[in-house]
């Protein structure tokens, strides 16, 4: 009798263990058991350098979707990134997509910056206002275009901006 009970217990334990492994595999693979409520969007980049299937799509630092796949557009050799975005996140038509890096050498992700347009991007629409992956992008952009000034009270000891450096004496 005790043998049977012991065997049953061990069997149950093994099954629970297997279930945990399956759960973890799905979770870590960024998959989901049920298809979440999302809609597809595309973005065209000149270079996706290091972005992968499963990379996150963020808006203001919040994950709002993920990369479903990356393919090449044979017409002009640009990369088309397929993304799925959460249904409740409606993006203005002039939303921009940039490929950014978390930290200095971290993972690449797609950052969305919503614009001011009244109309929204429809499912499967393509974002063409994009920025490709560059490491030193923010630095270069400050050098190339100058940066906007802030109030003295709020600025926190930032290096003098390019705009100031460029002003004529």
């Amino acid at each position: 009798m005790t043998d049977k009970r012991l065997e049953f217990g061990v069997g149950l334990f093994v099954l629970l263990g297997l279930a945990a492994v399956v759960y973890l595999t799905v979770k870590l693979g960024t998959g989901s058991f049920v298809a979440a409520d999302t809609y597809p969007l595309e973005a065209r980049f000149a270079n996706t350098g290091g972005l992968n299937k499963g990379s996150t799509v963020m808006l203001g630092g919040v994950t709002v979707g993920r990369v479903e796949g990356i393919r090449l557009d044979p017409a002009d050799f640009s990369a088309i990134v397929d993304m799925s975005i959460m249904r409740e996140v409606q993006l203005p038509a002039d939303t921009m997509a940039s490929i950014k890096t978390s930290g200095l050498i971290g993972d690449k992700f797609v950052a969305l910056a919503p614009g001011a347009e009244e109309s929204f991007l429809k499912p499967s629409e393509r974002i063409v206002m994009t920025e490709s992956a560059v490491e030193l992008e923010s630095l270069i952009s400050k050098m190339a275009f100058g940066s906007v000034k802030e109030d003295e009270e709020t600025s926190s000891g930032e290096a003098p901006s390019a705009a100031a450096a460029n002003s004529e004496p």
């Binding site: 614009g115 001011a116 009244e118 206002m129 400050k142 906007v148 460029n166």
Partner: protein, 191 residues
Amino acid sequence: MTLKKMVLFLASAAVSFQAFAAGDPESTLREAMQEAVTVANASAGGRALADKLQPLLERRVCFESMTRRAIGPGWREFSPAQQAEATRLFTKLIIRSYSNKFTPGEEPEVKYLKGSSQGPDKIEIPTSMLYKGSRYSIVYRMENRGKWLITDILVEGVSLIANYRAQFNELFKRGGVNAVMDSLKKSVADT
């Protein structure tokens, strides 16, 4: 010819006429560049150059949509008067920080690469520019609004609009419309 076909034909004729009237984006860009260089070489640089360039660039660049896109989601909370003022200031800011990079007499050597169409009235024209011994990759994004206008510029892959949008958005979240307007005024005054 049925009525439906007739209407379709007329509509497509109208569309192609519009495309024809708008001209070819690449030659528009070449013309704009040539005009700007001519004006730049005839002036002493600095602010005087910016003032001279402004009317010329306003015909070639859509500053209104640039400002709207650069300010981003906060734009809807601007009153029409504030929007007009922001556009005016942003236009000045862009032209000034641009013309500061110009050295009169230096002729840029621009190579135009094949543009890639992004839909019926959007195009991206990559160029490679040799200026004062350095080579820059500059991509012009243009849109057809009756005529081809420049709507964004990417220098070494970095978008002008994205750069400003990131900064304005942060300012807007911290201090609303006033913070954005103040920083615009400050930047224009200092540039």
